[in-house]
Chain length 322, copies 2
């Protein structure tokens, strides 16, 4: 069936669309626009066109729909169902690498069954956001083989749906996860061993997100490490990982070939997009960035990480004694 | 007085010389050679000549003296006193960023008063290892103005000798500390704010050590971040910070001028030297490295952190819709 479908879309994302209530040492937000699909889309739409699969309730403000559409997101795959939108309530202390979940109300998300519009069924790039791995599989099954497929997941699914999760991992090219989740899933502490465990299941690349410590990537082309962008003030890290994924995959989506140097650039773009998100609540830091802002931070990141070439004239001239 | 002394030495280090008993998930060591001055010296002697100020007891094995001298360390400033050598007993779990101290026996270190031989009194580079800040001050006062002075410290002194510590900080060029210590001393969480607090006291550079997450440096020339070298197996992180300081300052000692690009290189050399130390117990990973090993890892680190230049042809061509 799938092969008969002629539509071809750029990037497809499935994930939560949420109203978040967040408190951090720098302020708070109530019922603010959030969720994986939202942060991912707003980040990725700076690089490519994004098509969303998700669900919202009757209470989901129309202005959020307009904002996403205004950024060029295609919402043909967005379902609006009777009931309330998914809600997450969380807080952070000074260490904003760790969110404390105070409440999760699944609401319309509880009975969510992703159904792809026909026009979505041949995406070039597919991002399976952090949802039940059984739903991730349902989306995978509805898609013609994308050029690049990536997933994110979390400890909840690792503990409760390990088998289904492993099944999805076997079918994706890239796994993007937090450090602790990689360790938990692989059952080993050293991060390169955790990444090796995951890559042996199939994915050619594993990206480990480490919050304020940046990210590392294990690929066929080797090991890459990039620090976080040094934001002057970090107000709310909610959505940082999804924005990272948006920059990373959005950039890859428009690349002619996914090879080592392209993956490196993608990692830097992911880092840059996450940095905008953490500087304000909800999508406020991310939604107004321009091409120039992105390029400036990309260049800044290059400067921060640049190590000078070896100086042959200064080769370790040991003067013993003296 | 000092100005009349004509001796001129390269790098001077004052710090502990210890017999460490360590247990990690990868093995253990008993009464093994350790201490700040030891790790620092063995790392730094790959770049410059090192002159040690410290104290050992009657039980300190002669073979350790020979090893240090064999690496070119000058031990004229090493005191041997009646009693036992300083001992530290510690353990690590899987997260080897954090040492658990099980026992500290100061022994001869308790009554240690650093006395510099006349020949040491005009060092080019001075490293005040993590000891009582009052002793650090005593060393400073005995030295003619070095070209570069750096210090390390720890939570113990921050809590108990804050005033003396602040006094030393005001007199040094570089502060090298662990992330948690920088936060504790400055009383702020964001690491760039902690670094700013310290730099406002006088030091032109602050290097923050973050264990497996690498290090960051705040200098007049800007912000630099370097990941840890990806060692295949980390067996024992004892001495990593001191080896880092040894590579960092050893490299700077032989530089003609301490400027932005030289500080960056120094940070990379510090990272490389720390990586050798963590791969085995005591000094076993560090003591046998050659110039070639150091250069290989330096180049590897460059590759790991390299971000490609912006591609002007791929400037964010948003194709909305599609």
């Amino acid at each position: 069936m799938v092969n008969l479908v002629e539509a071809d879309v750029s990037t497809l994302v499935v994930g939560s669309i949420a109203l978040d209530t967040v408190e951090t040492p720098h302020g708070n937000a109530t019922d603010a626009l959030g969720g994986t699909a939202v942060f991912f889309s707003i980040a990725a739409c700076n690089f490519t066109s994004v098509n969303v699969v998700g669900v919202v309730g009757e209470d989901f403000p129309e202005r959020h729909i307009e904002l996403l559409q205004g950024r060029g997101c295609n919402l043909d795959g967005l379902q609006r169902r009777p009931g309330r939108t998914f809600r997450w309530v969380g807080s952070y202390d000074q260490n904003m690498n760790v969110a404390h979940t105070l409440d999760t109300q699944l609401n319309v998300f509880e009975s969510f069954h992703p159904e792809l519009p026909l026009s979505y069924r041949r995406p070039r790039t597919l991002f399976l956001g952090n949802i039940d791995p059984e739903l991730q599989l349902m989306v995978l099954e509805q898609c013609g083989a994308p050029t690049l497929t990536a997933l994110d997941t979390m400890n909840f699914w690792i503990a409760r749906k390990r088998e289904a999760l492993t099944d999805v991992i076997r079918h994706v090219d890239v796994v993007l996860v937090n450090e602790e989740e990689a360790r938990e899933y692989a059952g080993v502490y050293p991060i390169h061993e955790a990444a090796r465990y995951i890559r042996e299941l199939g994915p050619h690349s594993v990206v480990i997100k480490r919050g304020e410590y940046g990210s590392v990537m294990f690929t066929d082309g080797g090991y890459v490490a990039i620090p976080a962008f040094p934001s002057e003030q970090v107000k709310d890290t909610t959505g940082a990982g999804d924005s990272f994924a948006g920059g990373f995959l959005g950039y890859l989506d428009r690349a002619e070939e996914v090879k080592a140097d392209v993956l490196r650039r993608a990692l830097a773009y992911g880092t840059v997009m996450a940095s905008f998100t953490v500087e304000d609540f909800s999508i406020d830091g991310l939604s107004s960035v321009s091409e120039r802002h992105i390029e400036e931070r990309y260049e800044r990141l290059r400067d921060i990480t640049a190590i000078e070439p070896l100086q042959q004239s200064q080769r370790i001239p040991v003067q013993r004694g003296a």
